[in-house]
């Protein structure tokens, strides 16, 4: 410890300030120790911003001091622990769960020295030595592609056979090769599987080719790399570990590197990490003074760093510059691949991790995989079909056994059975031909039957569903109504297997900030010294430009000011005015905002942008600027604020960062007038405890009133307090702080108590109200969703009043609702209020039996109560209350609680849940829900990365669910049922024939046709129809949101429909088989001709069946359905033109007979009559909502056609 106990200079390179304590003069001190490295500036922190933390209680606490507290005499020993401390506090709430776990272990690991065997040695500017064996680091090329030309086939096959269905078909294909079975010829036996594998492989190959292309682009970008003393451009892929790389502003980092020098004399470099963690604010990185002082060409030494890992918030290394003492390096000294250099002219770094070792690559993970509800239900029907398959096969083998038993004596001489091989030599008198006894023969028959009837379980379905989802996703992405103009962002389909779930959503769980609101904070009003200033009507939009060195600086965002307040601040005299000025000084200084100056087209004017992690702070700083307190410069040691045109320099003597336990932050400022002031800013709940109410009781009272009114109109409030510190108080604090910050154990708690010690007896200055504006169209969207029978739950970290007021403004809550509020501070009271809620629900339920007069209920519950409820297993009761309520509003909930609430519903009902959010705190909820939607907004991409779908605006939920969800569900349901039907029909036709072949598995239908049936003859229409058909127009669906109920009630896919369509399938197969059978009985018909007739009639019949159910006929639908029939015909003709097949020319012969055409017509008509009649009856006499809406739509269309002007106006509205 420094003997004089004075504060070490935070930044010696800066001009000394008048009140700064005299600089320590110890000549024995290591000169580097005083250098700002690593400066624990608040700018560095990744800790949760205020806005974020207000909403989540799960953050780690942190207290930092904006000065170098490293012991000057022992930098090596303390710096690792310092690093680890920083790492610890920098654990962001936003890291995904796995990396949080990792960083925990790494934090523990970083406490000890980096052992040589766990380290990687990087020789600066000596790539050959660095990469010499045994190191063998990967080069910097990136491979997101999965396959190479050589590995494609084995790897792709390996991946595809992960599907159980494919294994089933593989087994059947292999079984077919057993000589006794050989049902299909070898080629035909493998064709279906090969086709499906082939289509998938082509799709994968195409996707991989695109990845290859983008990899190639990425790998061939250039960066300047030091070679022979000169920086030369080098392709990214050729950069090696140890290379020295030079970057200029706005360049993207090609690899992870340790910063060695920058254009800034203090070694600062700003980077944007949006590609890495989605945070759009700038982060600061530092070069070590030791490395800065050497020109890069002369740099030599070795960096010892940890092995590559996924933790983007941790880095542990030391650098040894040619024999000099090792200097420790931490996260603040590395720049990671994917980041962009900003506001820094140049920066030079040494590559430490390249290519697949870089953190961004290690962190990249694919979209989560979920299974759609429909697919799960589909498995139920697949099992039913499998049972049917087994039954069919058993029947065949049983009958075959009986037949053989009856004819057992004659089998030897029956010419078509020929049990013995008579042609053989005399020795093989009773040589058997393919005969293993009746029992074995029955088993073989069974297995052959499985092979023959395998399409009962539709193989094409899997691949069709994939193609359909790709097509549906294409149209969702292309939809202009889900295109966000503001961010120029399209809708994103990240998960490709739950499209149809969008049509069945029953519960929507929504985050508030950034999802319902824009998370673009706007300063609205202030309560200054008990006076409310919220009249901004007369005020002008004031950016408050200031002139400095002939350059006009203007804040990027202008704020409308209250003229009275502005006047008070500008010209006001007396204590009141100076307190008001203090308030805005507090707003300008008590934050972690960095002003970034941007050039404009006008060289004399520059824009100041306030970069920071908290949108609230940004809004407050912009407001302070508008009211004349303009933050111009911030370094770790001082802040320059332009106060009505005069620049004032404030020293940052100390800073207690925001943490969610204290719910406030404070800053100790050395003012130009040599006073020391402590500014505290925080949530009202935490601030009123530390405010000395005796100082100005009337102000306190008035402020409380104002706060209440602010939060009831939905504003986010913060309370600001001040205290002047005496020199002794400050020194006392400083001692305590240094002691705490160098303590080895429990540093966090010590620092917190230091903060608590000084943050007391505050004088209340006032409060601010910041508006988080609602996103466009949110109230309308919520109303539509509610009309559609979707329950919207809002889960927010905000306090109850704010949450309720937002609830009103977005029409979630209405005045006629009865509110049930549960906010309890203890287990007991929580139980009681829950019981009360239940009795209230029951009472209301018994009062109003008919749904018309039902009182709508709203449940408002806070995070604390949820904790108690989840702790005490009273979830059941909560669930009971919650489902009885129309609206549920959960306030002050932590991220994990959000997931818990989703789980509450998911576990207890079979209803589909959807979670929508924008921030990292929504990730767990998004992953928990059946469908997770990320809003790509202000708060980074964490939510988007975890989501299944991503979009720009909350209101897109309406077209997504009500239109696309409805369509996708309806189409996919029909497609699955239809697939079952068309394959079953074919199998039944085969089955009937088997009964007339002595129960042997031969077919009249050519084996190629039977193989092509499900993959070529009938598959294209199902795919196209399932992508393009629309039961109702977008306009109708949006106009009548109730139509969404069809999906919630599972109207398009259920057991009843399955049975119906299967009965139809049996009927049609009977018609297809028996009408020709009866006509051709006793005739000279050959099997090939009859087979061709059956093939064509099945294909035409199932296609007509589809055609009858198509609702919207576009030219594509026409082309594909009729084209399919024509294609089948052509295929049959081609197959019958091969002279070495037994059926040669049959189709030509049979098409020449009148009977063929007569039968074809009869089969189609008789086959379709039941379906047609049932459809006519159902649609006319038992119409469902969709049917009625279709009729309305049709009559609307014809009306539109008669009145073209009307159509114009309605279509623009739609």
């Amino acid at each position: 410890m420094r003997p004089d106990g004075k504060l070490p200079p935070p930044h010696p390179s800066l001009a000394p300030l008048p009140q700064r304590p005299q600089q320590a003069t110890g000549t024995d001190m290591d000169p580097h120790a005083r250098l700002p490295d690593p400066v624990p500036s608040p700018i560095l922190k990744h800790s949760p911003s205020i806005s974020r933390s207000l909403r989540s209680a799960a953050d780690t606490s942190s207290v930092t001091f904006a000065a170098d507290f490293r012991s000057p005499s022992k930098p090596e020993s303390t710096s690792p622990s310092f690093d680890s401390f920083r790492t610890a506090r920098s654990r962001p709430s936003s890291v995904s769960r796995s990396s949080t776990r990792r960083s925990a272990s790494e934090r523990a690991g970083s406490q000890r020295d980096l052992r040589d065997e766990d380290a990687r040695f990087v020789y600066i500017n000596d790539a050959p030595r660095t990469n010499a064996p045994p190191a063998m680091f990967p080069d910097n090329s990136i491979r997101t592609s999965k396959y190479s030309v050589l590995t494609f086939i084995p790897r792709n096959l390996y991946e595809q056979f992960h599907r159980v269905a494919y294994i089933y078909f593989l087994i059947l294909a292999v079984l077919n090769f057993v000589p006794q079975l050989l049902v299909l010829s070898k080629e035909a036996g493998v064709l279906p599987l090969a086709f499906v594998l082939g289509v998938t492989a082509v799709k994968d190959a195409y996707e991989d080719w695109r990845r290859h292309r983008s990899d190639k682009n990425e790998n061939n970008r250039t960066a300047s790399v030091l070679a022979d003393g000169v920086f030369r451009p080098k392709r990214w892929k050729d950069i090696q570990v140890g290379d020295v790389v030079r970057l200029v502003a706005n360049e993207t980092l090609p690899c992870d590197m340790v910063l060695v020098s920058t254009s800034d004399p203090t070694g600062v470099a700003y980077i944007q990490t949006i590609n890495l963690d989605g945070e759009s604010n700038l982060k600061t990185r530092y070069a070590k003074q030791e490395t800065m002082s050497t020109p890069p060409e002369a740099l030599a030494g070795v960096i010892k760093c940890e092995k590559p890992n996924r933790n983007i918030y941790g880095f542990l290394a030391t650098v040894d510059l040619n024999g000099r003492r090792a200097i420790s390096l931490g996260t603040s000294n590395v720049m990671l691949r994917g980041c962009e250099l900003k506001n820094t002219v140049w920066a030079i770094g040494v590559a430490v991790y390249t290519g697949r070792d870089t953190k961004v690559v290690l962190n990249s993970s694919g979209a989560p995989s979920k299974r759609s509800r429909l697919e799960t239900h589909m498995n139920r029907e697949i099992i039913a079909l499998a049972v049917a398959l087994v039954v069919l096969c058993s029947v065949v083998s049983l009958l075959a056994g009986i037949w053989m038993g009856d004819h057992v004596d004659q089998l030897g001489i029956i010419p078509f059975f020929h049990k013995y091989d008579y042609s053989g030599a005399a020795a093989h008198d009773d040589g058997r031909y393919n005969w293993y006894g009746t029992g074995a023969q029955v088993v073989f028959t069974f297995m052959s039957a499985v092979i023959q009837f395998q399409v009962m379980i539709p193989i094409g379905l899997i691949i069709s569903m994939e193609l359909i989802r790709v097509g549906q996703a294409y149209f969702m992405v292309q939809d202009n109504r889900m295109f966000d103009e503001k961010s120029q962002a399209r809708f994103q389909c990240r998960a490709l297997n739950i499209n149809e779930d969008l049509g069945q959503i029953k519960y929507v769980f929504s985050d508030k900030t950034g999802t319902l609101t824009q998370n673009r904070m706007e300063f609205r009003c202030a309560s200054v010294q008990g006076r409310d200033f919220s009249e901004t009507d007369g005020g002008e939009e004031d950016g408050h430009a200031v002139q400095a060195d002939g350059v006009v600086l203007r804040p990027k965002t202008a704020v409308t000011t209250d003229p009275k307040l502005a006047a008070l601040l500008k010209d006001g005299m007396g204590a009141k005015a100076s307190r008001a000025r203090d308030l805005f000084l507090a707003l300008a200084t008590c934050n972690t905002i960095v002003p970034i100056v941007e050039d404009t087209v006008n060289p004399a004017a520059k824009l100041v942008e306030y970069q920071g992690e908290s949108p609230d702070e940004q809004a407050l700083v912009y407001a302070a600027a508008a009211y004349g307190h303009k933050l111009v410069e911030r370094t770790s040691g001082h802040i320059v604020v332009d106060v009505f045109g005069t620049r004032q320099r404030f020293d940052v003597l100390g800073l207690h960062e925001f943490d969610s336990d204290r719910k406030r932050m404070s800053v100790i400022i050395g003012c130009p007038d040599k006073t020391i002031k402590l500014f505290v800013k925080g949530a009202d709940s935490s601030m009123f405890g530390i405010i000395d109410k005796t100082l100005n009781p009337d102000v306190v009272q008035a402020t409380e009133k104002h706060l209440h009114s602010y939060s009831s109109v939905g504003l986010r409030t913060l309370v600001i307090g001040v205290r002047e510190l005496s020199q002794s108080e400050f020194q006392e604090w400083q001692m305590a702080y240094e002691k705490a910050s160098t303590a080895l154990l429990g540093r966090g708690n010590l620092l917190r108590s230091v903060a608590a010690n000084i943050e007391r007896n505050m004088r209340l200055l006032g409060a601010s109200g910041v508006e988080d504006k609602l996103q466009d169209g949110v109230p309308e969207a919520i109303e539509k969703l509610r009309e559609a029978g979707i329950k919207v739950w809002v889960l927010t970290g905000d306090k109850q009043e704010t949450a309720i007021s937002i609830g009103y403004s977005c029409k979630l809550l209405t005045r006629d609702m009865t509110q049930i509020v549960i906010n309890s501070n203890s287990r007991e009271s929580c139980r009681k209020s829950l019981d009360d809620a239940i009795s209230m629900v029951n009472k209301l339920r018994s009062l109003s039996t008919d749904s018309q007069s039902r009182v709508p209920l709203a449940l408002i519950i806070d995070g604390n109560s949820l904790v108690y409820i989840f702790d005490t297993d009273r979830e059941e009761k909560l669930f009971e209350v919650a489902i009885a309520c129309d609206v549920v509003l959960c306030c002050r909930v932590a991220p994990l609680q959000k997931a818990g609430i989703v789980d509450l519903i998911k576990k207890r009902t079979s209803d589909m849940t959807l979670a929508i959010g924008d921030g990292a705190n929504d990730v767990s909820m998004i992953q928990m829900a059946d469908v997770g939607i990320g809003i790509s907004g202000q708060e980074g991409r964490q939510a988007v990365m975890a989501s299944d779908f991503a979009m720009g605006q909350f209101r897109f939920l309406v077209p997504l669910l009500l239109v696309h969800g409805h369509w996708n569900y309806q189409r996919m349901s029909y497609m699955i049922l239809y697939n079952f039907y068309r394959n079953a029909t074919f199998v039944f036709v085969l089955f009937w024939y088997v009964l007339y072949t002595g129960y042997t598995l031969s077919t009249a239908i050519n084996e190629w046709s039977s193989v092509l049936y499900s993959v070529v003859y009938t598959s294209a229409p199902t795919v196209i129809v399932a992508i393009l058909d629309k039961d109702l127009s977008r306009r109708t669906l949006l106009k009548y949101p109730q139509l969404y109920g069809a999906g919630q009630r599972e109207e398009s896919y259920n057991l009843r429909l399955f049975i119906f369509i299967m009965v139809d399938s049996v009927w049609q197969s009977v018609v297809v088989f028996f009408i020709p059978y009866l006509a051709y009985k006793n005739s000279a018909i050959d099997s090939a001709s009859l087979g061709d007739l059956w093939t064509l009639s099945v294909v035409i019949l199932v296609n007509i069946h589809l055609a009858m159910d198509v609702i919207r006929w576009t030219w594509i639908t026409h082309a594909v359905i009729w084209g399919s029939i024509v294609a089948t015909w052509i295929c049959v003709i081609i197959i019958d033109s091969i002279p070495t097949l037994p059926g040669f020319w049959a189709i030509y012969e049979v098409m020449g007979t009148a009977l063929f055409w007569a039968l074809l017509l009869a089969v189609i008509v008789v086959g379709m009559i039941p379906h047609f009649a049932a459809k006519a009856i159902r649609e006319h006499f038992m119409p469902n909502d969709i049917q009625i809406a279709r009729e309305m739509e049709k009559s609307q269309d014809s009306r539109d056609a008669n009145q073209p002007e009307v159509q114009m106006s309605t279509s623009t509205r739609a």
């Binding site: 004659q410 001489i413 029956i414 010419p415 078509f416 020929h418 091989d421 008579y422 042609s423 053989g424 031909y433 393919n434 052959s448 149209f475 939809d479 295109f483 399209r490 007339y996 072949t997 002595g998 042997t1000 598995l1001 031969s1002 009249a1004 009866l1078 006509a1079 051709y1080 006793n1082 000279a1084 050959d1086 099997s1087 001709s1089 087979g1091 919207r1112 006929w1113 030219w1115 002279p1139 070495t1140 037994p1142 040669f1144 020319w1145 009148a1154 009977l1155 007569a1158 009869a1162 008509v1165 008789v1166 009559i1169 047609f1172 009649a1173 006519a1176 009856i1177 649609e1179 006319h1180 006499f1181 119409p1183 279709r1190 009729e1191 049709k1194 009559s1195």
Partner: protein, 308 residues
């Protein structure tokens, strides 16, 4: 904003048909109106066809051990049947043999053939599919190989009309396409029917397969276990009440599997042979559709629902 396109916005012009009562009734009525005449016409055509069927498998074997009788190569298997023609039969009169209970579609049977061997001379050795009638004991390939060819039908018919021998023309009984393209013109039978069990007819080894029309007809395997195959044509009209006497060489063994054999003489019409089924079916469907049309009409009248 991305460019607007009707396709990407799923707004392609489309027709949205609805099953309105008018359409339903019209559809049923139309089908009825179409099917009834077709049914009448085909029924009429079918009734024009004169068909004589005479089963002879039982009557042509005088002994109880029918299999032993038929397998014995020394027994005289000549058998004479006499039929009286009920109606005038216009030439050509098709002579068929009708076999019942012979599963020509049996899986063991239908696959036992080599189509390559029938067409290409160089493929004579491709007999692997033909087991158990692929090769002879000394491994010479049988042409034509396989059970299908081996079991070639070998009854013969000699027809007398009113005591006058009438020529049964056995030319052009097979499909032209088979003769020209499926069965080779330069392929001659060899090693055929030389095994220990005789399946049926033997073939003249000096005639190429493309001219062996009986074989070609036989090898076009029947779709169903009861089938007829064309034996030949009588190109002479037969008057009503004429006596037709057929001398049958009853060689073919249908007794081993309990099958039956019959001789069929039939004229033809545009609908094929005698086939009342299709006419009755059409009439039934037509009638059903007409009554459905009526039914729907009544239903729609009774329970009217306005399409808003």
């Amino acid at each position: 904003m991305p460019a607007y396109s009707k396709f990407t916005q799923q707004e392609l012009p489309a027709c949205k048909p609805l099953l309105t009562p008018e359409i339903v009734i019209a559809a049923f009525a139309l089908i009825g109106a179409l099917f009834v005449p077709i049914g009448l016409a085909s029924l009429h055509a079918s009734r024009q066809v004169v068909e004589l069927v005479h089963r002879y498998d039982a009557s042509c074997v005088p002994v109880d051990d029918k299999v032993g009788f038929i397998q014995n190569s020394r027994t005289d298997k000549t058998c004479t049947v006499t039929m009286t023609v009920p109606k005038y039969m216009k030439s050509p009169i098709h002579v068929y043999y009708l076999i019942d209970g012979f599963y020509q579609n049996h899986r063991r049977y239908v696959r036992s053939r080599s189509d390559k061997q029938l067409r290409y001379k160089s493929a004579a050795h491709l007999t692997s599919d033909c087991v158990p009638e692929g090769d002879t004991a000394d491994h010479a390939p049988i042409v034509p190989c396989g059970l299908v060819a081996w079991s070639l039908f070998n009854d013969t018919y000699t027809v007398r009309v009113n005591g006058v021998v009438t020529q049964v023309n056995k030319k052009d009984i097979a499909w032209k396409s088979d003769k020209n393209n499926k069965f080779g013109k330069n392929i001659y039978p060899s090693n055929f029917q030389k095994g220990r069990l005789i399946g049926g007819a033997t073939l003249n080894e000096s005639i190429p397969l493309s001219e062996q029309e009986d074989l070609i007809v036989w090898m076009r395997t029947a779709a169903l276990p009861t089938f007829r195959k064309l034996y030949g044509r009588i190109e002479k009209d037969i008057n009503a009440n004429d006596n037709v006497t057929v001398v049958i060489q009853n060689n073919y063994n249908t007794y081993s599997f309990g099958g039956s054999k019959a001789l069929v003489l039939s004229t033809a019409s545009w609908i094929g042979g005698k086939n009342n089924f299709i006419g009755i079916a059409y009439l039934t469907i037509g009638g059903l559709c007409l009554s459905l049309a009526m039914g729907f009409l009544v239903l729609y009248m009774v329970k009217r629902r306005y399409v808003s």
